[in-house]
């Protein structure tokens, strides 16, 4: 009945990926490159594996979920205070880099359609690579980290628009019968670039506006509106540009109309439907999780129906859920699934790579790498200081963005699928992406040394970036605080008592309802998740207390605190737990049952019932 093919495929992919990641991390290769190397090994090199339908489906789901995740993150306050530089700098960067790519492609004599794809491919930087590398360095909250992430978010919006455009063009090419349609499509796309950029600024500005009242659904609505306006403008532009190809106009208009429709539906849902619907199942985390995935797939299907990209639908679904106050919890639950599917995706990307074809075009590969690794950072470095930032964050941010994006591959694959791009140019793009992502990982990990070198050599003066000291980053990090996990009667009591003593208290619970009526710092999430603990700043805490009635969570928390050398006090809610917690090395055990019994004993004595 079944041949277990999927297990065999997945087995090869995951075992090879794990082996490659383990080996290559010795030379600090980021996981993405290791995945692709594993794919390269399994496919083109040894021929052990070809991409089966099931694997293809899994990687498709992976990319959709990645965009869902990116959408979910859109209301994070990582871009706090950097809205202006993100929008203006991001837009300039996109425009100039795309222009560079375009010029490059023109020099190499590529046809217009292919030039558009190459231009876009070099423009976008990888959110996944940047977020992962900066996260590892703990620099996501550094000024340069926030600038980079802000610009990446602007890029993401642009990616979504580009995807939409390609979906529209793809629709035409599918039933277009000669090369002319393709050229017209490219011409349309070219004109669109400019006006889309303008409206993009608006969308970005709306995002920035929304920053202030993150909790409300307004932000989603406003972003959606701006995107919709942008879409309309672009559609009009397309109209004007491609008078000869009415098919194209209809397709592009449908695409952008559909996108606007989805965005509006998502905004309305985020405001009126989702909070109530998800509020009802809040007490059942698994239901919330499955429902949010289902919600994602509603938009994926809707996007497919309107001939839009699956990724776009997932992204919009993510944005609509990002406005809920437990989006962060959801994000943490979706992350492992994305990690799983993404590994499959990147390995299968390696599987599909045809390095031989790219070799024939090696000058183009080199030129693209140069554009991404040298010209793109130069553009950022020339722009950011003019928006009021010092040389250091500008330089570091520019280094951070010096790679191609996984979306470059997706865009290229989409274009190749619709016949706009020759297979060999697709290989060129993937190989260039592979190289730039690999080198960029090294650049980011050594970015501070690079800055010192650049400053000494006087390179920065070329960009008229001055070495004025970096603005003092506001120190919002909690320190010497007391983390209390679990807001039951014990946790609440402790929070109150410690607050009354003037201690800084951060309370953590996985149930939003239990945090609602609390004053002071609260954090929503389960402490099983290390990232929650890190967000709670447990390593800098004076004391971590868990009042939970969950054995596994308590043991793991105790273990991690002991490993980190943080004083920890754990609720041994059953006496059978005492030995194990002691073995882990907990500083203090809260044996509430004994405490209660001692209180009873004291009462018996005090009240003189015993004579």
């Amino acid at each position: 009945m079944t041949d277990y093919l999927i297990l065999k495929n997945l087995g090869y992919i995951l075992v090879a990926a794990a082996a490659a990641v383990l080996l290559l991390r010795l030379v600090r290769v980021p996981t993405i490159v290791a995945y692709m190397a594993a794919g390269l090994l399994l496919g083109p090199v040894t021929g052990l594996l070809t991409v089966s339908d099931s694997v293809h489906l899994l990687s498709e789901v992976g990319i959709a979920l990645l965009l869902f995740l990116v959408g979910l993150e859109l209301s994070l306050d990582h871009i706090r205070g950097v809205g202006r530089v993100a929008v203006i700098g991001g837009t300039v960067q996109i425009a100039l880099t795309a222009l560079t790519g375009w010029a490059l492609a023109a020099i190499f004599g590529l046809p217009t359609a292919e030039a558009v794809v190459v231009a876009l491919a070099v423009t976008f930087s990888s959110t996944v690579v940047v977020v992962k590398m900066l996260g590892q360095k703990g620099h996501l909250d550094a000024l340069y980290g926030r600038i980079a992430v802000g610009m990446l978010l602007v890029q993401d919006v642009a990616v979504v628009m580009a995807l939409t455009l390609f979906a529209g063009l793809g629709g035409v090419s599918a039933h277009g019968d000669d090369g002319e349609t393709d050229d017209a499509a490219a011409a349309g796309a070219d004109t669109l670039g400019g006006s889309a950029g303008q409206d993009l600024t608006e969308a970005g500005a709306a995002t920035e506006l929304a920053r202030g009242d993150m909790g409300s659904a307004d932000s989603a609505a406003r972003v959606a509106d701006s995107i919709a306006t942008a879409a309309d403008t672009v559609a009009t532009a397309a109209d004007a540009a491609a008078t000869g190809a009415s098919d194209l106009v209809i397709a592009v208009a449908t695409a952008f109309g559909g996108m606007a429709g989805l965005a509006i539906a998502a905004a309305l849902a985020a405001r009126f439907v989702l909070p109530r619907v998800f509020g009802w199942v809040l007490s059942s985390p698994n239901t919330v999780f499955i429902w949010s995935l289902a919600w994602c797939f509603v938009f994926i299907l809707a996007a497919e129906l309107m001939h839009l990209s699956v990724e776009l639908g997932a992204f919009i679904a993510g944005v609509s859920l990002a406005q809920l106050h437990y989006a962060e919890v959801l994000r943490r639950r979706v992350q492992p699934i994305v990690n799983f599917f993404l590994a499959v995706f990147f390995v299968s990307l390696g599987l599909q790579m045809r390095p031989a074809a790219a070799l024939e075009h090696w000058p183009l590969v080199l030129a693209m790498c140069a554009a991404v690794l040298l010209i793109k950072p130069a553009i950022v470095l020339a722009t950011v200081p003019r928006l009021g930032y010092a040389a250091r964050p500008a330089f570091l941010a520019s280094i951070t963005l010096a790679q191609m994006s996984e979306f470059s591959f997706i865009l290229a694959a989409l274009a190749a699928g619709s016949g706009m791009l020759r297979e060999e140019i697709l290989s060129v793009i993937t190989v260039a992406g592979f190289i730039t992502i690999g080198i960029s990982a090294y650049l980011i990990s050594g970015n501070e040394k690079l800055y010192d070198a650049a400053e000494r050599s006087g390179l920065l003066r070329l960009f008229r970036a001055t070495g004025t000291p970096e603005e003092a980053g506001e120190d919002t990090e909690l320190k010497d605080h007391i983390v209390i996990v679990g807001m039951n009667t014990l946790g609440r009591r402790l929070a109150r008592l410690f607050t009354e003593r003037g201690e800084t208290v951060l309370v953590v619970d996985s149930d939003a309802g239990k945090l609602d009526d609390l004053e002071g710092d609260t954090l929503l999430g389960t402490v099983d998740d290390l990232s929650v603990l890190e967000e709670a700043g447990y390593e800098r805490a004076r004391l971590v207390i868990s009042t939970l009635h969950i054995e596994d969570a308590n043991s793991l928390l105790a273990y991690r605190c002991v490993q980190a050398g943080v004083p920890v006090s754990i609720h041994a809610f059953d006496t059978s737990l005492i030995d194990e917690l002691r073995r882990i090395g907990v500083d203090h055990l809260i044996v509430s049952k004994h405490a209660g019994a001692r209180l009873i004993a004291r009462r018996l004595r005090e009240e003189g019932v015993l004579d």
């Binding site: 639950r333 699934i337 059953d574 209660g596 019932v609």
Partner: protein
């Protein structure tokens, strides 16, 4: 994409229904799948992939949850109860299936499917009711663990019955090799993997790589893939790795198992009348045989009759493992679709019945109506002396000791009631007058003179069990230890004096904090 989307929508619907009616999600998913199959919209390949991946993930996670430490003090009792229950129910199941006219191999599959109880359902129930740490909760966990182990060890054997004893022997050797590999991973690889706690992506990848290496090995050795998946889980069940893994694998397994049960439901299809009748008959076997069986052995193992009854009720359902077993048999062509359908429907029905059967009301009713004299347990040390003016101590356990010490020091006249036989033995050795039994039993309370006592202290586990006490002991000052403020209010309403252990504990934490931190700072 559409296929996955439909499966996911169906799952979302089932989760909503389960949430609305407060039933376990697995039967809800199965029913949704059955209904979905009628519309016949799902691509077969996707269903197959989902079933294969879902089975693998399900068994992997089941193996990872297999932590013998959970049973702790109840290990011996769990082994006794589990072994007896397993073989007794297997025998009853086999005979019933044969009586229904099934061939031997089919009957063997059915019997094996009936023996396993659902870890997923029971664990969630115990968790939700905060009973994981009561002795009977531990016992039940131990029994579940043993059942999983038995079933998974027996599956390869049952599957190879037709091939004769030679194949069986090879199987046993192959199994030993796999267990050896699992032991090595548990000992050496698992601790090594802990260093990746900070790098969730790598950790996840390593966990999955171990899973697939095991699956590949078992395929190579001719064992069913689930054996590999399960043993991979066991190999990684070491603390703290298992805790780290749970966060990352939790979402993935939830996702795949949700789709898995939908796909499985779709595979069942609409059962025929005959299949339904057979399923009902076997459901009755599970529901009527398991509780008395487990109750009797559990009481023999020294538990109170209340705990024994609750254990029996909790174990009266078949497992997700039963579904996997049926699926494997079907894929291997060893059982017919009828056998598979019957197994699946039994699982569906018994899982639906469990939340209802394990309510307080049912246990209470059984307590009052159980045949008396099965196991005499209410033996007071000095039944002849009528009690009054004494201090009645309910639930001394290990956590009531401070109270006992105070009372003994004061020379007060005390009587202790506890349901733990070990505690009772210890009290008797110390010549403290005591009675064994359930503190929520009004008859016992009256016998202990609860209505004539000078004062009563209660440190029993479940706050709600104090209701009977407070009714019987109206007018007698009663100090009840509780943890939650809500329970405290409730005790106060009933006329008792709540002692908030949580507040007492918070005060102690503060004292410790002052001693440890303030002096230095």
């Amino acid at each position: 994409m559409e296929g996955i989307a439909f499966l996911l929508f169906a799952a979302a619907f089932a989760y909503g229904v389960a949430h609305l009616f407060n039933v376990p999600v697995i039967p809800a998913l199965l029913v949704t799948g059955i209904v979905l199959a009628v519309s016949d919209t799902l691509p077969v390949e996707l269903l197959e992939d989902t079933l294969v991946l879902g089975t693998t993930m399900l068994l992997f996670v089941a193996g990872m949850e297999l932590n013998p430490k959970r049973t702790r003090a109840q290990r011996d009792a769990a082994i006794k109860v589990g072994t007896f229950q397993f073989f007794a129910l297997a025998a009853v199941g086999l005979l019933s299936a044969l009586a229904l006219g099934y061939a031997l191999v089919h009957a063997a599959y059915m019997a094996l499917a009936l023996t396993a109880s659902s870890t997923l359902v029971v664990l969630r129930l115990l968790q939700r009711r905060g009973q994981l740490f009561e002795p009977f909760g531990r016992l039940v966990l131990g029994v579940l663990l043993l059942q999983d182990l038995f079933v998974l060890l027996l599956i390869p054997l049952v599957m190879d019955i037709p091939q004769g004893p030679g194949a069986l022997l090879i199987n046993v050797v192959a199994m030993a090799a796999m267990v050896g590999l699992a032991t090595l991973v548990f000992r050496y690889a698992a601790p090594w993997m802990e260093q990746f706690d900070q790098e969730e992506e790598i950790l996840l990848l390593l966990l999955l790589a171990v899973l697939f290496v095991f699956v590949g090995m078992s395929d190579f050795l001719g064992l069913p893939l689930i054996t590999g998946a399960f043993l991979a889980g066991v190999a990684l069940s070491r603390f703290p790795l298992s805790g780290m893994a749970r966060t990352h694998l939790g979402s993935i397994s939830e996702f795949f198992s949700a789709l898995f049960f939908i796909a499985l439901g779709a595979l069942i299809g609409i059962p025929s009348a005959l299949e339904l009748v057979h399923a009902l008959a076997l459901t009755l076997v599970v529901v009527l045989v398991t509780p008395p069986l487990v109750t009797v052995i559990t009481e023999r193992a020294g538990m109170s009759s209340r705990a024994a009854i609750e254990s029996g009720l909790l174990l009266a359902q078949t497992s997700e493992i039963s579904l996997v077993l049926g699926l494997l048999g079907l894929i291997a062509g060893q059982i017919t679709e009828t056998v598979f359908t019957v197994i699946a429907i039994v699982t569906l029905l018994t899982m639906l019945l469990t939340p209802w059967m394990t309510t307080y009301r049912v246990a209470d009713w059984l307590m009052r109506h159980r045949p008396s004299g099965v196991t005499p347990q209410r033996r007071s040390v000095d039944r002849d002396r009528p009690r009054s003016g004494h201090v009645l101590v309910l639930g001394s356990g290990s956590t009531g000791m401070p109270i006992l010490e105070t009372l003994l020091a004061s020379g007060a006249d005390i009587l202790v009631i506890d349901d733990d036989p070990v505690v009772i033995d210890r009290l008797r050795d110390a010549e403290i007058s005591c009675m064994r039994g359930d503190a929520s039993d009004p008859e016992l309370l009256r016998e202990a003179g609860a209505d004539r006592a000078r004062i009563i202290t209660s440190t029993i586990r479940r706050p709600r069990d104090n209701q009977r006490l407070l009714e019987v002991a109206r007018g007698v000052p009663t100090l009840v230890r509780v943890f939650d403020e809500d329970d405290a209010d409730w005790i106060r309403e009933l006329g008792g004096t709540p002692i908030l252990a949580s507040h007492a504990a918070a005060d102690e934490v503060l004292r410790w904090f002052d001693r440890t931190f303030s002096s230095g700072a």
